[in-house]
């Protein structure tokens, strides 16, 4: 029990929670906390961003690459409203964050005071929980509860809104012992009978498929290990959502690639034709299911999820198991081994034969070029030249994001940071700042689009200030590529406002920020320049000028089913499985 001010309590609680870094931006209503930070001689290291949205995305990158809670400190009014996009992003992708916002003094709340906004009202639907702390006595509990709620169960962002007079007020602080929230108790252990039943269904399956998602990554490294073991033990094929990439190694022969709107032919056809779908930590999002009434019509579905509200939301499942992925997977392994369960080898062999035929389609194939850099080629080369290093990848949102998901082969979880649910352009650069801060000696690359990266470009200044050598690898096609692709395929080629007529010179822009700029326009120069990018121990903006008309395939168009995918013209038709000259097949 120590007497201190509310502002000091904030620092004390952060330190007690083991927080090492906090991303933020000062302002009138948080000045007491910034003062306490100063006087504590940065017990918690503060990273000054250039815009509050950047602070939240940086904290997301930090959280997703470490498994820890990401922390943010911003002021009232515009500070809080600028954080809203990041909060919503973190809610959609289940990223644990604690965001502390300043508020006008309690007697001015509701008075339309300067820089006042109804922060808890605005952030109620985009946080897992939020607090407006109106007395100093509530502050220590609110701060510690915030960390507990953010990181337990299905993780998510929590806002603690602290009026300025509470920051000045004096109270007693004590570090709480292990506490139990009176109402909030997420269920972690799956029902043992259902797990047993799931294993029996797996043993009897003829055409089984694992469909995994971000929940496996969020559950922690043990979940990925158990998943790998279970997939090996059963011999079943596995696909994953965008958010789940890396939980299972992409180099493994049982890996079918990502599924969904831009997933591989083999992953989507397997989803459509399987007789048993084992969904683990994924949520049947509309990017995955396509047309609901034609979604995997013949399969029995097992769904493991920590959040009961994810179950039967879009797709009715036959066997729901509410629980943490790591725990349920471990129990599935135990049950499988205890009964010396054997899968139906003969049926499985026939299923793999069928999958081999789908794979032969080479749905990720594209036409190569010696004159112009194909975006897929750029990402392939980036992968080849960085795969043996300790690499983390973030992305923005659009075509480049899908190509990164398709062509960058992730072998480990927590290496892939992308905005999946909300699809926030401008996520990748600030996220890379957060990742680099957590992993100072690793290679951190933001695979970006030139349109997305302009939304939060100012954060390169943060990277320079803190000497964070992030690599911003811009796939520059001068278009909002995914918008352009949809306009080409679905809106009669009417390219309404999807072309950026006045782009900056990214090399000069890098120099203006005291970063390092590289431009690459020819395929022959690509490897050398990527190596240069890796060698430069400073933030780099890499302007990779690519074919502006390339489209992202395969693609499930417009509310269609998995078996109605569109392929690029370089893919192999079933009748013609021979490689044609000039085709670059992957």
């Amino acid at each position: 029990m120590t007497e201190m001010t509310g502002a000091e309590m904030v620092i004390e609680a952060l330190a007690d929670q083991g927080v090492e870094h906090i991303f933020g931006y000062p302002g009138g209503a948080v000045l007491p906390i910034y003062d306490a930070l100063f006087q504590s001689q940065d017990r918690v290291r503060h990273i000054l961003v250039r815009h509050e949205q950047g602070a939240v995305h940086a904290a997301e990158g930090y959280a997703r690459s470490t498994g820890k809670v990401g922390c943010v400190l911003v002021t009232s009014g515009p500070g809080a409203t600028n954080a809203v996009t990041g909060l919503t992003d973190a809610l959609c992708d289940s990223i644990p964050l604690v965001v502390i916002t300043g508020q006008v003094p309690t007697h001015l709340i509701g008075n339309d005071a300067f820089q006042e906004c109804d922060t808890v009202g605005i952030t109620r639907p985009c946080t897992k929980y939020n607090y407006l702390v109106k007395t100093i006595d509530d502050l220590p509990r609110a701060l510690h509860e915030a960390f507990h709620i953010a990181s337990s169960g299905r993780p998510g962002p929590v806002v603690v809104d602290i009026p300025k007079d509470i920051q000045f007020a004096k109270g007693t602080y004590s570090k709480p012992k292990e506490f139990q929230h009176k109402g909030y108790k997420p269920r972690l252990k799956g029902d043992p009978d259902r797990i047993k039943q799931a294993v029996e269904m797996m043993a009897a399956a003829k055409r089984p498929l694992f469909y995994t998602g971000g929940g496996v990554v969020n559950s922690g490294p043990a979940a990925s290990e158990h998943l790998r073991e279970l997939v090996k033990l059963t011999g079943f094929p596995i696909t994953s959502t965008l958010m789940g990439l890396g939980a299972f190694p992409a180099a493994d022969p049982q890996w079918l690639g990502m599924l969904g709107m831009h997933g591989t032919w083999e992953a989507n056809w397997s989803m459509h034709d399987c007789d048993l779908m084992i969904c683990i930590g994924a949520r049947f999002d509309d990017r995955i299911t396509g047309r609901l009434d034609a979604f995997s019509p013949g399969s029995t579905k097992i769904h493991v999820d920590i959040d009961p509200s994810s179950i039967n939301k879009n797709v009715k499942v036959d066997l729901p198991i509410v629980g943490d992925c790591a725990h349920v997977l471990e129990e599935m392994l135990r049950a499988w081994r205890a009964n010396s369960t054997k899968p139906d080898k003969q049926a499985l062999a026939a299923w793999w034969d069928q999958i081999a035929k789908w794979r032969a389609k080479k749905s990720l194939a594209y036409r190569g070029s010696n004159d112009i850099i194909k975006p897929q080629y750029a990402i392939q080369r980036l992968f080849e030249l960085t795969k043996d290093r300790d690499t983390y990848i973030t992305t923005e949102v659009g075509q480049h994001q899908m190509w990164a998901a398709q062509f960058y082969q992730f072998q480990e979880p927590n290496r892939w940071m992308t905005s999946g649910g909300l699809g926030t352009m401008g996520y990748g650069l600030p996220a890379s700042v957060g990742v680099q801060l957590a992993h100072p000696d690793s290679l951190v690359i933001d695979i970006a689009g030139e349109a997305s990266v302009m939304m939060t470009m100012q954060e390169i200044s943060t990277a320079v200030q803190y000497d964070l050598p992030v690599k911003i690898f811009i796939i520059n096609n001068k278009y909002m590529g995914m918008v352009r692709q949809w306009q080409e395929l679905l809106h009669g080629g009417r390219y309404s406002h999807s072309y950026s007529e006045a782009l900056p010179d990214f090399v000069k822009l890098a120099e203006a920020y005291h970063a390092h700029g590289i431009r690459c326009e020819r395929p022959a120069d690509l490897d050398g320049k990527i190596l240069e990018m890796i060698e430069v121990k400073r933030p780099v903006i890499f302007d990779c000028v690519v074919d502006p008309t390339e489209n992202c395939f395969p693609m499930i168009p417009s509310g269609r089913a998995h078996n109605e995918m569109l392929l690029g013209d370089a893919s192999v038709s079933v009748e013609d499985a021979v490689t044609e000259a000039g085709k670059m097949l992957v």
Partner: protein, 180 residues
């Protein structure tokens, strides 16, 4: 929305819509009602009726009774979405959980003279409604019962001279010795 140019799946084929009464036990803290109502508004669920009051003062627990409509899948979602709100302790669907009693209280103001007054009193008696205010030209009746009973009473008062109605909305409790 033209499905051929949308990149979202089309709406599911509509299923049978059912009405349910949910009892929700919550921490009585600032903003808790906004969380519940915001959930319904944000996710496009219906609220036919909603009542709320603190029921356990020492524990600061409030009980919210919500009458809602939806397909079975949506109703399951509503229950699960409510259940995962941090201040929510329990959600019980009293329509399906077992036999339950549902009641509503209404105050009904009727204005009229002579034969209309007599008729109003006779009907009130039949419905076991009590007079809680009277002037020479008006009555306020208090009536308690299932929503259908209150609806019929109001319908009968309409031609007699109905002025206004104030209703609490439905409250519900399970029959038998067990608590929620």
């Amino acid at each position: 929305m033209n499905t051929s140019t949308s990149h979202y799946p089309s709406a599911a084929v509509s299923e049978r819509v059912e009405t349910r009464t949910l009892c929700v036990l919550v921490d009585n803290e600032p903003g808790v009602l906004a969380r519940v109502i915001g959930l319904f508004a944000g996710r496009g669920y219906n609220i036919d009726s909603l009542t709320v009051s603190e029921t356990e003062h020492e524990k600061h627990l409030s009980r919210i009774t919500i009458v809602t409509r939806g397909t079975p899948m949506v109703l399951e979602q509503i229950k699960n979405q409510l259940d995962r709100l941090v201040p929510v302790h329990r959600v019980v669907d009293v329509t399906t959980a077992g036999p339950a009693i549902q009641r509503e209280l209404a105050m009904v103001k009727v204005r009229g003279k002579d034969e209309h007054r007599m008729e109003a009193l006779r009907l009130a008696d039949a419905f076991r409604a009590r007079v809680i205010d009277a002037t020479t030209e008006s009555f306020v009746f208090e009536i308690t019962g299932a929503s259908e009973k209150i609806e019929s009473f109001i319908a009968l008062m309409l031609p007699i001279g109905l002025v206004e109605v104030s209703r609490t909305g439905v409250v519900a409790i399970a029959r038998g010795p067990e608590g929620m």
